[in-house]
């Protein structure tokens, strides 16, 4: 058995009396797409925030590729190869799509205390950025200000930025949020294409996408993992059906 890409041990987080993450233990295997599902308020986004370093955990330990990253800052985790996308699109609205990605490339290209040469004419930033845009299907949209991209394109740009930091692990917080059917299908293909190169922790409400993509699924309810297993296992799991899939119509478990 290889070492876990990401190991979560006894992770806790509460906001006042609200327990968002409750003694969570989880191993993410290298190369897998591990989906985390659960009803609204299950603590999925809180978990992503804890894993990415945005939120400090109350207790527990997170290790990434064997290193304890529990008390590391967001930038430090990113430098180790842990990237995230945001549930609510978080891009540089007033920069072009290409510059958004170029900034992500620059982040991994050493320090940025370079004051003289124009960054936008630097092929060491521009070329990999163009590549990442092309890979994500935005190859011809590079010069468009990010604010003017369609919602679906902005979601793609989110992923392109995460990818441009050359991460080994991607934390994707609802990449399909607010997408139409075609856009979602496109995103599923895209994530399928990333499989193997990256370990992916995927939070998603689109159950078709989750069952199409995930190697394993963890079901989170009130901050607790009530089940972890292969998609077929999860479908069959009694506790999960009771807590979550009980309605049978698995597709209407959508976020508001």
């Amino acid at each position: 058995m290889t070492e876990a890409a990401l190991r979560i041990e006894g992770l806790c987080k509460s906001f006042g009396s609200l327990v968002a993450t409750d003694d969570l233990h989880l191993d993410i295997a290298p190369g897998e797409i591990h989906a985390i599902i659960g009803p609204n308020g299950a603590g999925k986004t809180t978990l992503i925030a804890q894993l990415s370093g945005e939120l400090r955990s109350d207790r527990g330990r997170v290790s990434f590729a064997g290193r304890d990253i529990t008390s590391m800052s967001m930038p430090a985790r990113s430098a180790l190869g842990l990237a995230r996308s945001f549930q609510v699109t978080s891009i540089f609205q007033d920069f072009s799509a290409l510059d958004n990605v170029a900034l992500a490339v620059q982040a991994q290209a050493g320090h940025s205390f370079h004051f003289w040469r124009p960054a936008q004419k630097d092929p060491r930033l521009q070329d990999p950025a163009r590549e990442a845009l092309a890979r994500i299907g935005l190859g011809d949209r590079g010069d468009v200000p990010a604010a003017n991209l369609s919602h679906g394109e902005q979601r793609q740009l989110e992923i392109a930025m995460a990818l441009a930091t050359r991460p080994s692990l991607l934390l994707l917080d609802e990449p399909m949020a607010g997408m139409g059917r075609d856009e979602s299908r496109h995103m599923v293909d895209l994530l399928q294409g990333l499989k193997g190169d990256h370990t992916i922790v995927l939070i998603e409400h689109d159950m078709d996408a989750v069952f199409a993509l995930a190697d394993r699924i963890t079901v989170l309810v009130y901050g607790r993992a009530i089940a972890t297993g292969a998609p077929a296992q999860i479908r069959a799991d009694r506790a999960v059906r009771a807590a979550y899939l009980g309605t049978e119509s698995s597709t209407d478990i959508g976020d508001a």
Binding site: P75, Q108, S112
Partner: protein, 325 residues
């Protein structure tokens, strides 16, 4: 900075460059002094634009760095050190240091707290200056103009003017490069979305602190020139209203454009000079109430002229989207 901004910069600088011959031609030395003052405040405003316009750091105590630059010259001159080659670097070094210290603490906060804490630090130094009896307290102190080993005669109005002009042009050029560099991209993007910056791996604090320090340093240069211009230094230089005026110049001219604040400084100081005269013509004692007109002008610019004076010259439709040329 796009091509338009470069053109506006070149035209503005050309206009500044032809002021001395014109003042000699028309025998109006007063204007030489006037435009020297404008350019000095323009340097201060441009330095504020670096952190305010590009970095999104609303520093409400920026005049304090002018004060430090000015006092550095004044105090050195008091102790008989008139050499500009010593005064100017020390003035800038002192402002850089204070900028580094104030920035290091202020940048731990953000939003309204950042505005308030920068203001508080500035007020602290303002009252410190008032309490320095040795250096004139709130009456201020006189300062001889710097000596540059006979290379530049600061008492020659035209030479002094062109020294200021050279400083302004150099500052504009350096900051133009800086804004487009990797460093510039980082501070502009931090203004746009700091959380995202953290997520893609930037420890933004150190970059913002560097920008804050650079802005302080340049503003210190403006202060050193200001002390020379007035041959006098007083705590008024760092009064919070002065910080406010510099901020108004930036907003009036167009934040995040570098050349905009130069236009803003020009407009502000020219209005401040001539508005009272014009109002005196319209009504008796109108000059005393010039602020009644100045206020609405500022409000109108903020409300209707988003992008400031700069936007009047730059083509429409591109405002609001950062030009990345």
């Amino acid at each position: 900075m796009n091509r338009q901004q470069i053109w506006i910069s070149l035209i503005t600088l050309t206009l500044f460059a032809v002021v001395p011959p014109l003042t000699v031609l028309f025998d109006q030395p007063f204007y030489l002094d006037m435009f020297a003052r404008i350019m000095i405040l323009a340097i201060a405003a441009v330095s504020l634009d670096l952190i305010l316009g590009h970095g999104g750091m609303v520093s409400f105590g920026h005049a304090v760095y002018m004060g430090i630059g000015a006092y550095a010259v004044g105090i050195l001159s008091y102790y008989g050190i008139d050499n500009g080659f010593i005064q100017f670097p020390l003035a800038m070094l002192a402002s850089a240091l204070i900028g580094l210290i104030f920035g290091a603490m202020s940048l731990r906060t953000s939003g309204v707290y950042f505005i308030m804490i920068t203001l508080a630090f500035a007020q602290m130094l303002f009252f410190l200056a008032i309490s320095l009896e040795e250096f004139g307290g709130d009456d201020g102190m006189s300062a001889a103009r710097s000596e540059f080993a006979g290379l530049i005669d600061m008492y020659d109005g035209v030479q002094f003017y062109y020294l200021i002009f050279a400083c302004l042009a150099l500052v504009l050029y350096l900051l133009h490069r800086l804004v487009l560099s990797r460093f510039g991209m980082v501070i502009r993007a931090s203004r746009s979305n700091e959380k995202r910056m953290h997520a893609i791996g930037y420890p933004t604090y150190r970059y913002k602190l560097a920008a804050f320090t650079i802005a302080g340093t340049i503003c210190g240069l403006a202060g050193a020139l200001f002390a020379n211009l007035n041959e006098f230094v007083s705590p008024d230089v760092m009064h919070w209203t002065h910080s406010g005026e510099i901020m108004v110049m930036v907003i009036m001219g167009g934040i995040g454009t570098l050349i905009g604040p130069v236009l803003g400084a020009s407009a502000f100081l020219l209005l401040e000079e001539y508005l009272p005269e014009w109002m005196e013509m319209v009504m008796t004692n109108g000059g005393e109430h010039w602020a009644i007109v100045m206020g609405p002008i500022l409000i109108a610019i903020v409300l209707f002229g988003r992008g400031g004076i700069h936007a009047l010259f730059a083509s429409r439709g591109k405002i609001g989207v950062k030009q990345n040329d």
